[in-house]
Protein backbone atom coordinates (compact mmCIF):
# COMPACT_ATOMS: atom_id res chain seq x y z
CA UNK A 1 0.00 0.00 0.00
CA UNK A 2 2.79 2.38 0.90
CA UNK A 3 4.46 1.77 -2.44
CA UNK A 4 1.27 2.74 -4.21
CA UNK A 5 0.92 6.14 -2.54
CA UNK A 6 3.48 8.00 -4.72
CA UNK A 7 1.68 6.68 -7.77
CA UNK A 8 -1.56 8.45 -6.97
CA UNK A 9 -0.46 11.94 -8.12
CA UNK A 10 0.36 10.41 -11.49
CA UNK A 11 -3.32 9.73 -12.12
CA UNK A 12 -4.79 13.03 -11.06
CA UNK A 13 -7.61 14.74 -12.87
CA UNK A 14 -6.09 17.25 -15.27
CA UNK A 15 -7.04 19.79 -17.90
CA UNK A 16 -8.47 17.82 -20.88
CA UNK A 17 -6.64 20.10 -23.34
CA UNK A 18 -3.17 19.55 -21.89
CA UNK A 19 -0.99 16.47 -22.32
CA UNK A 20 -1.77 13.71 -19.84
CA UNK A 21 0.47 12.87 -16.87
CA UNK A 22 2.91 9.96 -17.01
CA UNK A 23 0.68 7.36 -15.39
CA UNK A 24 -2.27 8.14 -17.63
CA UNK A 25 0.07 8.23 -20.61
CA UNK A 26 1.30 4.73 -19.79
CA UNK A 27 -2.15 3.24 -19.32
CA UNK A 28 -3.49 5.14 -22.32
CA UNK A 29 -0.68 3.77 -24.49
CA UNK A 30 -1.36 0.20 -23.41
CA UNK A 31 -5.06 0.62 -24.13
CA UNK A 32 -4.29 2.16 -27.52
CA UNK A 33 -1.92 -0.71 -28.33
CA UNK A 34 -4.57 -3.29 -27.52
CA UNK A 35 -7.28 -1.51 -29.49
CA UNK A 36 -5.10 -0.80 -32.51
CA UNK A 37 -3.76 -4.36 -32.57
CA UNK A 38 -7.23 -5.93 -32.36
CA UNK A 39 -8.78 -3.65 -34.94
CA UNK A 40 -5.78 -4.13 -37.18
CA UNK A 41 -5.88 -7.94 -37.04
CA UNK A 42 -9.63 -8.11 -37.59
CA UNK A 43 -9.24 -5.60 -40.39
CA UNK A 44 -6.54 -7.68 -42.05
CA UNK A 45 -8.75 -10.77 -41.82
CA UNK A 46 -11.63 -8.89 -43.39
CA UNK A 47 -9.30 -7.65 -46.12
CA UNK A 48 -8.81 -11.20 -47.36
CA UNK A 49 -12.56 -11.38 -47.74
CA UNK A 50 -12.64 -7.96 -49.40
CA UNK A 51 -9.97 -9.02 -51.86
CA UNK A 52 -11.88 -12.15 -52.82
CA UNK A 53 -15.14 -10.24 -53.14
CA UNK A 54 -13.61 -7.46 -55.23
CA UNK A 55 -11.77 -9.88 -57.47
CA UNK A 56 -15.01 -11.80 -57.93
CA UNK A 57 -17.05 -8.71 -58.77
CA UNK A 58 -14.43 -7.50 -61.23
CA UNK A 59 -14.59 -10.90 -62.93
CA UNK A 60 -18.42 -10.92 -62.93
CA UNK A 61 -18.63 -13.54 -60.20
CA UNK A 62 -20.26 -13.47 -56.76
CA UNK A 63 -17.33 -14.34 -54.51
CA UNK A 64 -17.54 -16.18 -51.18
CA UNK A 65 -21.18 -16.25 -50.10
CA UNK A 66 -21.63 -19.53 -48.22
CA UNK A 67 -20.09 -19.31 -44.73
CA UNK A 68 -22.34 -16.81 -42.94
CA UNK A 69 -23.27 -15.22 -46.30
CA UNK A 70 -19.53 -14.78 -46.88
CA UNK A 71 -18.87 -12.76 -43.74
CA UNK A 72 -17.40 -15.70 -41.81
CA UNK A 73 -15.14 -16.77 -44.66
CA UNK A 74 -11.99 -15.35 -42.99
CA UNK A 75 -12.84 -17.35 -39.83
CA UNK A 76 -13.33 -20.49 -41.91
CA UNK A 77 -10.02 -19.89 -43.66
CA UNK A 78 -8.29 -19.36 -40.33
CA UNK A 79 -9.71 -22.54 -38.83
CA UNK A 80 -8.75 -24.47 -41.93
CA UNK A 81 -5.21 -23.16 -41.87
CA UNK A 82 -4.73 -23.97 -38.20
CA UNK A 83 -6.07 -27.50 -38.64
CA UNK A 84 -3.85 -28.25 -41.61
CA UNK A 85 -0.59 -30.15 -41.37
CA UNK A 86 2.61 -28.17 -40.99
CA UNK A 87 5.17 -29.53 -43.40
CA UNK A 88 8.88 -29.01 -43.02
CA UNK A 89 11.18 -29.74 -45.97
CA UNK A 90 13.89 -32.20 -44.95
CA UNK A 91 16.73 -29.99 -46.11
CA UNK A 92 15.36 -26.70 -44.84
CA UNK A 93 17.19 -24.59 -42.31
CA UNK A 94 14.57 -25.07 -39.63
CA UNK A 95 15.18 -22.13 -37.25
CA UNK A 96 15.13 -19.61 -40.09
CA UNK A 97 12.32 -21.44 -41.83
CA UNK A 98 10.15 -20.98 -38.76
CA UNK A 99 11.36 -17.47 -38.07
CA UNK A 100 10.81 -16.07 -41.58
CA UNK A 101 7.00 -15.71 -41.49
CA UNK A 102 7.24 -13.84 -38.20
CA UNK A 103 9.96 -11.54 -39.56
CA UNK A 104 7.86 -10.62 -42.55
CA UNK A 105 4.78 -10.05 -40.41
CA UNK A 106 6.06 -8.11 -37.41
CA UNK A 107 7.59 -5.05 -39.20
CA UNK A 108 4.32 -4.45 -40.99
CA UNK A 109 2.57 -4.25 -37.62
CA UNK A 110 5.21 -2.15 -35.86
CA UNK A 111 5.06 0.57 -38.50
CA UNK A 112 1.52 1.34 -37.41
CA UNK A 113 2.74 2.50 -34.03
CA UNK A 114 3.77 5.91 -35.39
CA UNK A 115 0.82 6.67 -37.64
CA UNK A 116 -1.66 9.14 -36.11
CA UNK A 117 -5.21 8.05 -36.85
CA UNK A 118 -7.32 10.84 -35.32
CA UNK A 119 -7.13 14.21 -33.64
CA UNK A 120 -6.19 14.14 -29.93
CA UNK A 121 -8.84 12.85 -27.55
CA UNK A 122 -9.63 14.97 -24.47
CA UNK A 123 -10.22 12.90 -21.33
CA UNK A 124 -10.77 13.93 -17.70
CA UNK A 125 -7.15 12.97 -17.06
CA UNK A 126 -5.64 15.08 -19.84
CA UNK A 127 -5.28 15.03 -23.58
CA UNK A 128 -4.37 11.75 -25.25
CA UNK A 129 -2.82 11.71 -28.71
CA UNK A 130 -4.49 9.30 -31.09
CA UNK A 131 -1.26 7.61 -32.08
CA UNK A 132 0.35 4.70 -30.30
CA UNK A 133 3.77 6.34 -30.17
CA UNK A 134 4.22 9.87 -31.49
CA UNK A 135 7.91 9.47 -32.27
CA UNK A 136 9.79 12.67 -33.19
CA UNK A 137 11.51 10.63 -35.93
CA UNK A 138 8.22 9.03 -36.94
CA UNK A 139 8.69 8.95 -40.65
CA UNK A 140 12.27 7.70 -40.59
CA UNK A 141 11.08 4.95 -38.26
CA UNK A 142 8.51 3.93 -40.88
CA UNK A 143 11.12 3.73 -43.63
CA UNK A 144 13.56 1.82 -41.45
CA UNK A 145 11.07 -0.74 -40.19
CA UNK A 146 9.24 -1.28 -43.46
CA UNK A 147 12.50 -2.16 -45.19
CA UNK A 148 13.04 -4.89 -42.61
CA UNK A 149 10.13 -6.77 -44.16
CA UNK A 150 12.34 -7.87 -47.02
CA UNK A 151 14.35 -10.03 -44.63
CA UNK A 152 11.33 -12.20 -43.95
CA UNK A 153 10.90 -12.92 -47.64
CA UNK A 154 14.58 -13.42 -48.38
CA UNK A 155 15.05 -15.73 -45.40
CA UNK A 156 11.92 -17.67 -46.33
CA UNK A 157 13.28 -18.13 -49.82
CA UNK A 158 16.74 -19.09 -48.70
CA UNK A 159 15.88 -21.36 -45.77
CA UNK A 160 13.40 -23.40 -47.81
CA UNK A 161 16.28 -24.87 -49.81
CA UNK A 162 14.17 -24.81 -52.93
CA UNK A 163 15.23 -23.21 -56.19
CA UNK A 164 11.92 -21.50 -56.83
CA UNK A 165 11.73 -20.17 -53.32
CA UNK A 166 15.30 -18.91 -53.56
CA UNK A 167 14.59 -17.19 -56.88
CA UNK A 168 11.55 -15.56 -55.33
CA UNK A 169 13.61 -14.36 -52.39
CA UNK A 170 16.34 -13.01 -54.66
CA UNK A 171 13.85 -11.19 -56.81
CA UNK A 172 12.16 -9.67 -53.83
CA UNK A 173 15.42 -8.41 -52.34
CA UNK A 174 16.44 -6.78 -55.63
CA UNK A 175 12.97 -5.36 -56.18
CA UNK A 176 12.40 -4.01 -52.71
CA UNK A 177 15.81 -2.41 -52.44
CA UNK A 178 15.49 -0.78 -55.87
CA UNK A 179 12.09 0.68 -55.15
CA UNK A 180 12.96 1.70 -51.62
CA UNK A 181 15.38 4.24 -53.09
CA UNK A 182 12.72 5.79 -55.31
CA UNK A 183 10.33 5.71 -52.37
CA UNK A 184 12.77 7.47 -50.07
CA UNK A 185 13.53 10.07 -52.73
CA UNK A 186 9.84 10.75 -53.24
CA UNK A 187 9.39 11.40 -49.55
CA UNK A 188 12.29 13.86 -49.48
CA UNK A 189 9.91 16.27 -51.25
CA UNK A 190 7.39 15.82 -48.44
CA UNK A 191 10.08 16.58 -45.89
CA UNK A 192 11.11 19.68 -47.85
CA UNK A 193 7.61 21.06 -47.43
CA UNK A 194 6.98 20.03 -43.85
CA UNK A 195 10.48 20.69 -42.54
CA UNK A 196 9.94 17.91 -40.00
CA UNK A 197 10.03 14.11 -40.01
CA UNK A 198 7.34 13.68 -37.38
CA UNK A 199 4.18 12.40 -39.04
CA UNK A 200 1.98 14.61 -36.86
CA UNK A 201 3.92 17.62 -38.14
CA UNK A 202 3.52 16.46 -41.73
CA UNK A 203 -0.24 16.19 -41.20
CA UNK A 204 -0.37 19.67 -39.64
CA UNK A 205 1.56 21.07 -42.61
CA UNK A 206 -0.95 19.56 -45.03
CA UNK A 207 -3.84 20.94 -43.00
CA UNK A 208 -2.58 24.49 -43.50
CA UNK A 209 -0.99 24.30 -46.93
CA UNK A 210 -3.18 21.77 -48.71
CA UNK A 211 -2.76 18.08 -49.27
CA UNK A 212 0.60 16.96 -50.57
CA UNK A 213 -1.03 14.99 -53.37
CA UNK A 214 -1.81 18.33 -55.00
CA UNK A 215 1.43 20.01 -54.01
CA UNK A 216 3.70 17.06 -54.84
CA UNK A 217 1.72 15.06 -57.38
CA UNK A 218 4.68 13.37 -59.00
CA UNK A 219 6.22 12.46 -55.66
CA UNK A 220 2.86 10.91 -54.83
CA UNK A 221 2.88 8.97 -58.08
CA UNK A 222 6.38 7.62 -57.41
CA UNK A 223 5.52 6.78 -53.82
CA UNK A 224 2.37 4.98 -54.91
CA UNK A 225 4.16 2.87 -57.51
CA UNK A 226 7.00 2.14 -55.12
CA UNK A 227 4.60 1.08 -52.40
CA UNK A 228 3.08 -1.44 -54.78
CA UNK A 229 6.58 -2.82 -55.28
CA UNK A 230 7.31 -2.74 -51.54
CA UNK A 231 4.18 -4.69 -50.68
CA UNK A 232 4.82 -7.21 -53.47
CA UNK A 233 1.42 -6.59 -54.95
CA UNK A 234 0.56 -6.90 -58.60
CA UNK A 235 1.82 -5.60 -60.98
CA UNK A 236 5.03 -6.11 -58.99
CA UNK A 237 4.41 -9.52 -57.41
CA UNK A 238 7.55 -11.01 -58.92
CA UNK A 239 8.66 -12.68 -55.66
CA UNK A 240 5.52 -14.79 -55.89
CA UNK A 241 5.02 -15.02 -59.67
CA UNK A 242 2.86 -18.15 -59.74
CA UNK A 243 3.28 -18.65 -63.45
CA UNK A 244 7.07 -18.78 -63.22
CA UNK A 245 8.09 -19.71 -59.67
CA UNK A 246 5.32 -22.06 -58.44
CA UNK A 247 4.58 -19.80 -55.47
CA UNK A 248 7.90 -17.99 -55.10
CA UNK A 249 9.28 -17.54 -51.63
CA UNK A 250 6.46 -19.38 -49.86
CA UNK A 251 6.49 -22.47 -52.07
CA UNK A 252 7.49 -24.72 -49.19
CA UNK A 253 5.22 -23.23 -46.56
CA UNK A 254 1.97 -24.78 -45.45
CA UNK A 255 -0.84 -24.22 -42.99
CA UNK A 256 -0.64 -21.23 -40.65
CA UNK A 257 2.91 -20.26 -41.62
CA UNK A 258 1.75 -19.85 -45.19
CA UNK A 259 -1.21 -17.91 -43.91
CA UNK A 260 1.12 -15.66 -41.95
CA UNK A 261 2.79 -14.56 -45.18
CA UNK A 262 -0.62 -13.59 -46.46
CA UNK A 263 -1.42 -11.73 -43.28
CA UNK A 264 1.91 -9.97 -43.68
CA UNK A 265 1.05 -8.99 -47.23
CA UNK A 266 -2.26 -7.49 -46.17
CA UNK A 267 -0.70 -5.89 -43.11
CA UNK A 268 1.85 -4.30 -45.43
CA UNK A 269 -0.96 -3.07 -47.63
CA UNK A 270 -2.70 -1.45 -44.67
CA UNK A 271 0.53 0.18 -43.57
CA UNK A 272 1.32 1.41 -47.07
CA UNK A 273 -2.21 2.82 -47.38
CA UNK A 274 -1.89 4.55 -44.03
CA UNK A 275 1.46 6.01 -45.04
CA UNK A 276 0.12 7.26 -48.36
CA UNK A 277 -2.81 8.74 -46.48
CA UNK A 278 -0.60 10.43 -43.89
CA UNK A 279 2.05 11.73 -46.25
CA UNK A 280 -0.04 12.78 -49.24
CA UNK A 281 -3.71 12.85 -48.28
CA UNK A 282 -3.61 14.83 -45.08
CA UNK A 283 -3.86 11.94 -42.62
CA UNK A 284 -6.88 12.49 -40.40
CA UNK A 285 -7.46 15.98 -41.80
CA UNK A 286 -11.01 16.59 -42.96
CA UNK A 287 -10.81 18.43 -46.29
CA UNK A 288 -12.08 22.00 -46.87
CA UNK A 289 -12.15 22.85 -43.18
CA UNK A 290 -9.75 24.09 -40.54
CA UNK A 291 -12.19 23.36 -37.73
CA UNK A 292 -10.85 19.85 -37.06
CA UNK A 293 -7.18 20.86 -36.74
CA UNK A 294 -7.53 23.56 -34.11
CA UNK A 295 -7.94 23.23 -30.36
CA UNK A 296 -10.11 22.89 -28.30
CA UNK A 297 -10.23 19.22 -29.09
CA UNK A 298 -13.50 17.39 -28.50
CA UNK A 299 -14.64 13.78 -28.67
CA UNK A 300 -16.74 14.61 -31.72
CA UNK A 301 -13.67 15.87 -33.56
CA UNK A 302 -11.80 12.70 -32.68
CA UNK A 303 -14.58 10.50 -34.04
CA UNK A 304 -14.98 12.52 -37.24
CA UNK A 305 -11.26 12.68 -37.96
CA UNK A 306 -10.98 8.95 -37.28
CA UNK A 307 -13.74 8.46 -39.85
CA UNK A 308 -11.88 10.64 -42.36
CA UNK A 309 -8.68 8.69 -41.82
CA UNK A 310 -10.36 5.30 -42.16
CA UNK A 311 -12.17 6.40 -45.31
CA UNK A 312 -8.90 7.39 -46.93
CA UNK A 313 -7.10 4.22 -45.85
CA UNK A 314 -9.95 2.03 -47.06
CA UNK A 315 -9.97 3.82 -50.37
CA UNK A 316 -6.29 3.05 -50.87
CA UNK A 317 -6.80 -0.56 -49.83
CA UNK A 318 -9.50 -0.77 -52.46
CA UNK A 319 -7.16 0.91 -54.90
CA UNK A 320 -4.48 -1.74 -54.24
CA UNK A 321 -6.99 -4.48 -55.00
CA UNK A 322 -8.42 -2.65 -57.98
CA UNK A 323 -4.96 -2.38 -59.55
CA UNK A 324 -4.23 -6.01 -58.77
CA UNK A 325 -7.20 -7.22 -60.78
CA UNK A 326 -6.52 -4.82 -63.63
CA UNK A 327 -2.84 -4.87 -64.48
CA UNK A 328 -0.82 -7.97 -65.39
CA UNK A 329 2.61 -8.71 -63.94
CA UNK A 330 5.70 -6.91 -65.19
CA UNK A 331 8.57 -8.78 -66.73
CA UNK A 332 11.64 -8.74 -64.51
CA UNK A 333 13.78 -6.49 -66.73
CA UNK A 334 10.84 -4.12 -67.12
CA UNK A 335 10.51 -3.92 -63.36
CA UNK A 336 14.17 -3.11 -62.92
CA UNK A 337 14.33 -0.60 -65.75
CA UNK A 338 11.23 1.14 -64.43
CA UNK A 339 12.73 1.37 -60.97
CA UNK A 340 16.24 2.47 -61.87
CA UNK A 341 15.86 4.21 -65.20
CA UNK A 342 12.58 6.00 -64.65
CA UNK A 343 11.57 6.24 -61.00
CA UNK A 344 14.95 7.20 -59.57
CA UNK A 345 15.89 9.93 -62.11
CA UNK A 346 12.33 11.23 -61.99
CA UNK A 347 12.43 11.44 -58.21
CA UNK A 348 15.81 13.19 -58.23
CA UNK A 349 14.69 15.68 -60.85
CA UNK A 350 11.51 16.32 -58.90
CA UNK A 351 13.45 16.97 -55.69
CA UNK A 352 15.54 19.53 -57.56
CA UNK A 353 12.45 21.25 -58.96
CA UNK A 354 10.59 21.29 -55.65
CA UNK A 355 13.70 22.42 -53.77
CA UNK A 356 14.22 25.30 -56.21
CA UNK A 357 10.58 26.35 -56.10
CA UNK A 358 10.46 26.25 -52.31
CA UNK A 359 13.65 28.27 -52.09
CA UNK A 360 12.40 30.86 -54.59
CA UNK A 361 9.04 31.16 -52.85
CA UNK A 362 10.67 31.53 -49.45
CA UNK A 363 13.01 34.24 -50.79
CA UNK A 364 10.04 35.99 -52.39
CA UNK A 365 8.60 36.23 -48.91
CA UNK A 366 5.49 34.09 -49.51
CA UNK A 367 4.36 32.58 -46.22
CA UNK A 368 3.85 28.82 -46.07
CA UNK A 369 0.08 28.79 -46.30
CA UNK A 370 -2.70 28.47 -48.88
CA UNK A 371 -0.97 30.86 -51.29
CA UNK A 372 2.26 28.83 -51.16
CA UNK A 373 0.20 25.70 -51.81
CA UNK A 374 -1.66 27.25 -54.74
CA UNK A 375 1.57 28.16 -56.52
CA UNK A 376 2.99 24.66 -56.02
CA UNK A 377 -0.29 23.16 -57.23
CA UNK A 378 -0.21 25.24 -60.40
CA UNK A 379 3.32 24.12 -61.10
CA UNK A 380 2.37 20.50 -60.53
CA UNK A 381 -0.50 20.64 -63.00
CA UNK A 382 2.01 21.69 -65.63
CA UNK A 383 4.48 18.95 -64.65
CA UNK A 384 1.84 16.22 -64.58
CA UNK A 385 0.53 17.21 -68.00
CA UNK A 386 4.11 17.24 -69.30
CA UNK A 387 4.90 13.85 -67.86
CA UNK A 388 1.78 11.85 -68.56
CA UNK A 389 0.43 13.44 -71.71
CA UNK A 390 3.43 14.68 -73.63
CA UNK A 391 6.24 12.42 -72.49
CA UNK A 392 4.21 9.26 -71.91
CA UNK A 393 4.31 8.25 -75.57
CA UNK A 394 6.55 5.26 -75.35
CA UNK A 395 9.44 7.50 -74.40
CA UNK A 396 9.41 7.66 -70.64
CA UNK A 397 6.62 5.91 -68.82
CA UNK A 398 6.43 2.84 -70.94
CA UNK A 399 7.83 -0.34 -69.47
CA UNK A 400 5.38 -2.25 -71.65
CA UNK A 401 7.73 -1.42 -74.46
CA UNK A 402 10.82 -3.46 -73.83
CA UNK A 403 14.39 -2.21 -73.70
CA UNK A 404 14.88 -3.35 -77.29
CA UNK A 405 15.61 -0.62 -79.76
CA UNK A 406 14.78 -0.80 -83.44
CA UNK A 407 18.10 -2.34 -84.50
CA UNK A 408 17.75 -4.98 -81.84
CA UNK A 409 14.24 -5.78 -83.05
CA UNK A 410 15.48 -6.10 -86.61
CA UNK A 411 18.29 -8.40 -85.48
CA UNK A 412 15.87 -10.63 -83.57
CA UNK A 413 13.55 -10.77 -86.58
CA UNK A 414 16.38 -11.90 -88.78
CA UNK A 415 17.31 -14.55 -86.23
CA UNK A 416 13.79 -15.93 -86.16
CA UNK A 417 13.81 -16.03 -89.96
CA UNK A 418 16.93 -18.18 -89.82
CA UNK A 419 19.28 -15.41 -90.84
CA UNK A 420 21.49 -15.45 -87.80
CA UNK A 421 23.86 -12.53 -87.60
CA UNK A 422 26.50 -14.90 -86.27
CA UNK A 423 26.19 -17.03 -89.36
CA UNK A 424 26.49 -13.98 -91.58
CA UNK A 425 29.71 -12.97 -89.90
CA UNK A 426 31.22 -16.37 -90.54
CA UNK A 427 30.38 -16.11 -94.23
Amino acid sequence: MIALVPLIPLFQVADPQLPATEGVFLIGTVVKMLIVFSVYMVGVAMLTLAERKISAWIQDRHGPNRVGYGWLQPAADGVKNIMKEETYPGTANLPLFVLAPAISFIPAMITWAVIPFASPLPTPWGRIDMVVADLPVGFLFCLAISSLGVYGIVLAGWSSNNKYALLGGLRSSAQMISYEIAMGMATVCVLLLSGNVSISAIIQQQATMGWNVFLLSIAFFIFLVASFAETNRLPFDLPEAESELVAGYHTEYSAMKFSLFFIAEYANMVTASALITSLFFGGWDIPFTQWDNLPPFTVLKTILTLGAFLTKVLFFLFFFMWIRWTVPRFRYDQLMSLGWKLMLPLALAYITIIGTVVLVLDRAGIARGPMFGAILFGMNVVLVVLLFVVLDRGRIVSPAYSRLDREEVARLRNMSLGKSTLAEKKV
Binding site: W57, H62, W322, T326, Y401
Partner: protein
Protein backbone atom coordinates in the same frame (compact mmCIF):
# COMPACT_ATOMS: atom_id res chain seq x y z
CA UNK B 1 20.73 -21.41 -83.85
CA UNK B 2 17.30 -20.15 -84.55
CA UNK B 3 14.81 -19.50 -81.84
CA UNK B 4 11.26 -18.59 -82.68
CA UNK B 5 11.16 -15.21 -80.99
CA UNK B 6 8.07 -13.29 -81.92
CA UNK B 7 8.84 -9.61 -81.76
CA UNK B 8 5.90 -7.25 -81.87
CA UNK B 9 6.52 -4.09 -83.78
CA UNK B 10 4.81 -1.61 -81.50
CA UNK B 11 4.66 1.95 -82.72
CA UNK B 12 6.44 3.67 -79.86
CA UNK B 13 4.51 6.91 -80.29
CA UNK B 14 1.25 5.19 -79.39
CA UNK B 15 2.50 3.05 -76.54
CA UNK B 16 1.74 4.39 -73.09
CA UNK B 17 1.59 2.88 -69.67
CA UNK B 18 -0.21 5.25 -67.37
CA UNK B 19 -3.05 6.06 -69.71
CA UNK B 20 -3.46 2.42 -70.67
CA UNK B 21 -3.61 1.49 -66.99
CA UNK B 22 -6.27 4.12 -66.36
CA UNK B 23 -8.29 2.77 -69.27
CA UNK B 24 -8.00 -0.74 -67.86
CA UNK B 25 -9.05 0.48 -64.43
CA UNK B 26 -12.13 2.10 -65.90
CA UNK B 27 -13.03 -1.21 -67.53
CA UNK B 28 -12.56 -3.29 -64.38
CA UNK B 29 -14.54 -0.75 -62.37
CA UNK B 30 -17.38 -1.02 -64.85
CA UNK B 31 -17.44 -4.77 -64.25
CA UNK B 32 -17.12 -4.26 -60.50
CA UNK B 33 -20.34 -2.26 -60.28
CA UNK B 34 -22.14 -4.26 -62.94
CA UNK B 35 -24.88 -6.22 -61.12
CA UNK B 36 -24.94 -8.91 -63.79
CA UNK B 37 -22.93 -11.89 -62.57
CA UNK B 38 -22.34 -15.06 -64.53
CA UNK B 39 -21.95 -17.54 -61.65
CA UNK B 40 -24.57 -20.28 -61.34
CA UNK B 41 -25.28 -20.84 -57.62
CA UNK B 42 -24.86 -24.56 -58.02
CA UNK B 43 -26.80 -26.54 -55.43
CA UNK B 44 -29.72 -24.13 -55.66
CA UNK B 45 -29.56 -23.37 -59.37
CA UNK B 46 -28.67 -25.84 -62.08
CA UNK B 47 -28.12 -25.65 -65.78
CA UNK B 48 -30.77 -27.12 -68.05
CA UNK B 49 -29.10 -30.09 -69.67
CA UNK B 50 -29.34 -30.57 -73.39
CA UNK B 51 -31.72 -33.39 -74.44
CA UNK B 52 -28.66 -34.94 -76.07
CA UNK B 53 -26.59 -34.86 -72.86
CA UNK B 54 -24.80 -38.20 -72.44
CA UNK B 55 -24.37 -39.11 -68.78
CA UNK B 56 -24.43 -42.28 -66.67
CA UNK B 57 -26.62 -45.08 -67.94
CA UNK B 58 -30.12 -46.30 -67.20
CA UNK B 59 -31.72 -49.62 -68.12
CA UNK B 60 -35.38 -49.15 -69.00
CA UNK B 61 -37.87 -51.70 -67.70
CA UNK B 62 -41.17 -53.12 -68.92
CA UNK B 63 -44.38 -52.43 -67.01
CA UNK B 64 -43.97 -55.58 -64.87
CA UNK B 65 -40.57 -54.33 -63.65
CA UNK B 66 -38.33 -56.59 -65.71
CA UNK B 67 -35.54 -55.02 -67.71
CA UNK B 68 -36.20 -54.65 -71.42
CA UNK B 69 -32.80 -56.20 -72.23
CA UNK B 70 -32.91 -59.42 -74.25
CA UNK B 71 -29.19 -60.09 -73.87
CA UNK B 72 -28.58 -59.96 -77.60
CA UNK B 73 -24.94 -58.97 -77.01
CA UNK B 74 -24.87 -56.02 -79.40
CA UNK B 75 -23.87 -53.43 -76.81
CA UNK B 76 -20.76 -55.22 -75.48
CA UNK B 77 -19.80 -55.84 -79.09
CA UNK B 78 -20.12 -52.23 -80.19
CA UNK B 79 -18.70 -50.71 -77.01
CA UNK B 80 -15.34 -49.12 -77.95
CA UNK B 81 -14.23 -48.92 -74.35
CA UNK B 82 -15.14 -52.52 -73.61
CA UNK B 83 -16.89 -51.52 -70.41
CA UNK B 84 -20.10 -53.60 -70.64
CA UNK B 85 -20.12 -57.06 -69.14
CA UNK B 86 -23.06 -59.19 -70.24
CA UNK B 87 -23.81 -62.83 -69.34
CA UNK B 88 -27.00 -64.00 -71.11
CA UNK B 89 -29.51 -66.42 -69.63
CA UNK B 90 -32.70 -68.08 -70.90
CA UNK B 91 -35.96 -68.76 -69.06
CA UNK B 92 -38.43 -71.70 -69.49
CA UNK B 93 -40.26 -69.99 -72.36
CA UNK B 94 -36.97 -69.52 -74.20
CA UNK B 95 -36.82 -65.75 -73.57
CA UNK B 96 -33.28 -64.48 -73.23
CA UNK B 97 -32.50 -62.14 -70.39
CA UNK B 98 -29.27 -60.81 -68.84
CA UNK B 99 -27.97 -62.82 -65.90
CA UNK B 100 -25.26 -60.24 -65.36
CA UNK B 101 -25.26 -56.79 -66.87
CA UNK B 102 -22.57 -54.49 -65.57
CA UNK B 103 -21.26 -51.18 -66.86
CA UNK B 104 -17.97 -49.84 -65.58
CA UNK B 105 -18.66 -46.10 -65.62
CA UNK B 106 -14.96 -45.36 -65.20
CA UNK B 107 -14.08 -47.13 -68.44
CA UNK B 108 -17.10 -45.76 -70.27
CA UNK B 109 -16.40 -42.92 -72.69
CA UNK B 110 -20.09 -41.97 -73.00
CA UNK B 111 -20.13 -42.31 -76.78
CA UNK B 112 -23.74 -43.51 -76.74
CA UNK B 113 -23.16 -46.42 -79.17
CA UNK B 114 -24.81 -48.89 -76.78
CA UNK B 115 -28.00 -46.86 -76.79
CA UNK B 116 -27.88 -46.43 -80.54
CA UNK B 117 -27.32 -50.14 -81.24
CA UNK B 118 -29.87 -51.51 -78.76
CA UNK B 119 -32.77 -53.12 -80.66
CA UNK B 120 -35.07 -53.12 -77.63
CA UNK B 121 -34.37 -49.51 -76.55
CA UNK B 122 -33.35 -50.95 -73.20
CA UNK B 123 -29.99 -49.38 -72.32
CA UNK B 124 -29.92 -45.57 -72.36
CA UNK B 125 -27.50 -42.88 -71.43
CA UNK B 126 -28.86 -40.47 -68.82
CA UNK B 127 -29.23 -36.73 -68.60
CA UNK B 128 -27.45 -36.70 -65.29
CA UNK B 129 -24.08 -35.64 -63.90
CA UNK B 130 -24.06 -35.88 -60.10
CA UNK B 131 -22.20 -39.20 -59.81
CA UNK B 132 -20.09 -38.86 -56.66
CA UNK B 133 -19.42 -42.04 -54.68
CA UNK B 134 -17.29 -42.94 -51.70
CA UNK B 135 -15.38 -45.80 -53.35
CA UNK B 136 -14.20 -46.79 -56.80
CA UNK B 137 -16.08 -50.09 -56.96
CA UNK B 138 -19.41 -48.26 -56.62
CA UNK B 139 -18.84 -47.03 -60.16
CA UNK B 140 -19.44 -50.50 -61.62
CA UNK B 141 -23.20 -50.21 -62.07
CA UNK B 142 -25.00 -53.58 -61.95
CA UNK B 143 -28.34 -54.42 -63.52
CA UNK B 144 -30.32 -53.55 -60.42
CA UNK B 145 -28.76 -50.14 -60.09
CA UNK B 146 -29.14 -49.44 -63.80
CA UNK B 147 -32.81 -50.38 -63.64
CA UNK B 148 -33.68 -48.45 -60.50
CA UNK B 149 -32.11 -45.13 -61.48
CA UNK B 150 -34.81 -42.65 -62.40
CA UNK B 151 -33.10 -39.70 -64.05
CA UNK B 152 -34.27 -38.66 -67.54
CA UNK B 153 -32.59 -40.42 -70.43
CA UNK B 154 -30.64 -39.09 -73.34
CA UNK B 155 -32.50 -38.56 -76.62
CA UNK B 156 -29.37 -39.08 -78.76
CA UNK B 157 -30.93 -36.95 -81.44
CA UNK B 158 -33.45 -34.19 -81.35
CA UNK B 159 -36.73 -35.37 -82.96
CA UNK B 160 -37.36 -31.83 -84.19
CA UNK B 161 -33.94 -31.69 -85.81
CA UNK B 162 -33.05 -35.26 -86.88
CA UNK B 163 -30.03 -34.27 -88.94
CA UNK B 164 -28.43 -32.45 -86.04
CA UNK B 165 -28.49 -29.08 -87.67
Amino acid sequence: MTIGVKVLDRPIEEVSYVRATLKGMALTFKHLVDPHKVTVQYPEEKWDLSPRWRGTHRMLTTEDGKSKCVACGLCPTVCPANCIKLVPGEDEQGNRYPLVFEIDEFRCIFCGYCQEVCPEEAIHLGRHYENAEYSRDKFVYDLERLSTQTHPVCEMWDPADPKGE
